[in-house]
């Protein structure tokens, strides 16, 4: 399911080759240098708002959506629980570390609480993977949605661990190496580093044996099983990997907001991650970041253009338009535009 347009009835054997053929002709290698330079230089000329609220926030949402892109694009498993996993990392960082609710928070050193939070979230993602891989296909989306919504309701009701409706506030990033990572520029570079690492990891994984196996499972599970591959094992490993990535994004998100509450992992945010991934495009790891940037810009500036009230209609219609007309998302549009330009305005054949 590299692309959401893919025909169900296409002969399975051809699909891998087709993917290769149809792979997006995005620029490679050194073409990214200017982009990289731009991203590094960005905080030097942009204000606090653009650095954090637009730049860092886009990258955080991008990382979480990237974890979905990895699962959906490579593994064909559309998990709606990625925001839930991200939120779990945030919640457990608050629970193990320090927050406004010191009757619940354990106050452990961030050297301990940070890795533990990542671990708990990754375990949770693994569990979700175990459950979701009990069934296949479109069932995944239902099960993960059910898990996401149930977890949201649960955190809202549970006061012993998750502090219910109010959640946790005053969660600060750890002062690693004596720096205040909440300082806008530093926070931006922290986010940039994590985003770049996750991006590189997904690109690398896409070409690794593991990544290729997962893609092959997407294309023909039965054949892979016959070849002796452990189907569930690989799928669960993919969930765990994606879960770790989402957890990193979730930690950055609580650093940014300084708080976490059920609203952070509500139905809206859960669906937003899917919107971002689909908006950007599921076929290339850069897609989720493009989608996140578009989403964040809309989210912040829609109020200056339209009645804020109808924001959800606008975003929903954008999403529908992409699904209906540009199944490869904004990346697909980019490619179309590039081709059109390359043809030099010659009419379409």
């Amino acid at each position: 399911m590299a692309s959401i347009t893919e025909q169900r009835d296409a002969p399975a054997g051809e699909r891998g080759a087709e993917l290769e053929r149809r792979g997006l002709a995005l620029p490679r290698g050194w073409a990214y240098l200017p982009l990289g330079l731009f991203l590094v230089a960005f905080p030097l000329f942009a204000g606090e708002f653009w650095t954090v609220q637009i730049g860092a926030y886009s990258m955080i949402l991008g990382v979480i959506a990237l974890s979905l892109m990895f699962l959906a694009g490579y593994g064909g498993m559309v998990s709606l629980a990625q925001m839930t996993v991200a939120g779990t990392a945030g919640y457990f960082f608050a629970i193990f570390g320090t927050s406004s609710e010191m009757s619940i928070s354990l106050g452990w050193s961030p050297w301990l609480s940070l890795p533990l939070a990542l671990l708990v979230a990754t375990l949770f993602a693994t569990l979700i993977g175990l459950l979701a891989s009990r069934t296949a296909g479109i069932y995944t989306i239902m099960i993960t949605l059910a898990i996401a919504v149930a977890f949201f309701y649960f955190t809202r009701q549970n006061y012993e661990l998750f502090n219910g409706f109010n959640g946790f506030a005053q969660i600060a990033p750890p002062a690693f190496f004596g720096y205040d990572w909440n300082q806008p520029q530093l926070f931006y570079y922290l986010t940039l580093a994590v985003a770049a690492l996750c991006y590189a990891a997904v690109v690398y994984l896409g070409r690794s044996t593991f990544g290729l196996t997962v893609q092959a499972l997407r294309d023909n599970q039965r054949r892979m099983r016959a070849l002796g591959y452990h189907v569930t094992g690989h799928q669960v490993a993919a969930y765990a990997t994606a879960g770790f990535m989402a957890a990193l994004g979730g930690l950055l998100l609580v650093f940014l907001n300084g708080r976490i509450s059920p609203g952070t992992i509500g139905v809206g945010p859960v669906i937003d991650i899917l919107i971002i991934a689909v908006l950007g495009g599921l076929r290339h790891p850069i897609g989720p970041f493009v989608g996140a940037l578009a989403f964040v810009l809309l989210d912040n500036f829609a109020i200056d253009l339209i009645e804020r009230e109808r924001f959800n209609t606008v975003i929903g219609l954008c999403f529908l338009a992409v699904v209906l007309f540009s199944p490869d998302g904004l990346l697909g549009l980019w490619e179309k535009a590039r081709r059109a330009l390359a043809r030099g305005g010659r009419p379409r054949s």
């Binding site: 926030y57 708080r259 609203g263 912040n300 009230e309 924001f311 959800n312």
Partner: protein
């Protein structure tokens, strides 16, 4: 890779940097006022009414204060603290507002207070958020609240229920989150001190509409049920309670006995007569100031509610306090707005609902309205003002230390079974 793609990446980068670089120079003769309310999601209607309050106050001041022009910039949240923070960030960091009025709901207020601490250059004035700890514990120097909190809203209700109505044993039915907890505290504080008993509390999960199993759990040897549910949910609860054969009278929270409840049909309405409740406003208050406020609201917003909600009221008095203070200090915002803040913190303001002044934590001390459902001659029900409880402070008349020692509100705090 082609030259083309490289060029286009550069072009994109250039476009973005252009967009980023533009930060309009701020004119000295304009003061930017940000207003943050829930303009999306299920609370959108309430947020819009809050905005009406802001605009009414600005209109009455001709969008001028302290000799300067006031520019209004709106921000929107969806009632989640995360979205409130994002909207506040945009208003403060991108739109460079000098003063921010908002937000609307309790958990948003707590979030914005935390945010205010990081931005000492901006003055934050609460909209209608009514969580206690926004100002009670760990307040922010630059966060002011001219409205009362959820516990203050219930001032006098416990005493009235115990002494006048003679209710000694009650149960509580309320939604399971911080706002109802705070309301229950406001009620129980008097009620328990006088010797009343709250024998059980039924916390209903948020959004649950099915009370049918809870009504069978309500014991029969009680005098009344304290219900802190939104109006329509209260009707739902009453219907199901009645069908189960229950007939105990009700005591209402601040948002319980609204038009939905009063307009209810059937035999229920008879026993609604006499239901007491309390809150920061009372629609039917026959007071000149209040009536002229209602009239001004109706004239300014023909498409608004029939009468201003407590959200329009809260945002109105908050904005009014800001504008009057700006007048008093001649729009002087120098030195981190020190003069403005000093003035706001120590002066008394007139509002449509009486005098308001702030305490040491910049929290309002204001009048609260105790009401009771009564029947007009034509048979319609309305909330009659029984008593105006004057100048209720945040500690409900208790010593601050003793009040703080009771600890933050929760499902089990306070308790007097």
């Amino acid at each position: 890779m082609t030259m083309l793609s490289r060029r286009s990446l550069f072009a994109a980068a250039a476009a973005v940097s252009l967009a980023v670089g533009i930060a309009p120079a701020q004119a000295q003769d304009t003061i930017k006022l940000g207003a943050l309310a829930t303009l999306e999601g299920a609370f959108a209607v309430l947020g819009q009414d809050g905005m009406r309050g802001v605009k009414l106050a600005l209109q009455q001041h001709d969008y001028m204060a302290g000799g300067k022009k006031i520019e209004l910039i709106e921000g929107s949240s969806d009632a989640s603290p995360d979205s409130a923070i994002r909207a506040a960030r945009k208003l403060v960091e991108q739109d460079n507002v000098d003063i921010l009025v908002g937000p609307l709901s309790g958990s948003e207020g707590l979030a914005v207070k935390d945010y205010a601490k990081e931005h000492p250059g901006t003055t934050f004035v609460n909209g209608t958020s009514a969580a206690q700890d926004t100002t009670l514990r760990d307040p922010a120097e630059n966060f002011f609240r001219f409205t009362t909190d959820g516990a203050q809203w219930q001032a006098g209700l416990g005493e009235y229920a115990y002494k006048e109505k003679g209710y000694e044993k009650v149960v509580v039915v309320a939604e399971d989150y911080s706002f109802p907890y705070t309301q229950v505290l406001g009620f129980m504080n008097d009620f328990c001190q006088l010797g009343g008993k709250v024998v059980d509390k039924f916390w209903v999960p948020i959004g649950n509409k099915d009370y049918s199993s809870i009504v069978y759990s309500i014991p029969e040897d009680i005098d009344a049920i304290y219900v802190a549910l939104g109006g329509a949910d209260a009707v739902n609860f009453l219907t199901q309670y009645e069908q189960a054969g229950g007939a105990k009278p009700m005591i209402g929270g601040s948002i319980t006995v609204d038009q939905t409840v009063l307009g209810t049909k059937g035999k229920r309405r008879d026993y609604l007569v006499g239901t007491p409740s309390a809150g920061p406003i009372a629609d039917n208050w026959q007071n000149e100031e209040w009536q002229s406020f209602v009239k001004a609201y109706q004239e300014a917003f023909p498409d608004g509610f029939p009468s201003p909600s407590l959200f329009a009221h809260g945002y109105y008095i908050s904005t009014k306090a800001v504008l009057e203070s700006l007048d008093a200090v001649n729009g002087d915002l120098s030195n981190n707005q020190a003069k403005l803040r000093e003035y706001m913190a120590s002066h008394e303001f007139d509002t449509p609902t009486g005098k308001v002044h702030l305490d040491q934590n910049r929290q309002a001390v204001a009048d609260i309205f105790l009401t009771e459902v009564a029947m007009k001659e034509d048979g319609t029900l309305y909330n009659e003002v029984v008593e105006v409880i004057p100048q209720v402070n945040q500690t409900l008349g208790m010593d601050r230390e003793a009040f703080l020692a009771m600890g933050p509100v929760s499902r089990d705090n306070p308790s007097c079974p």
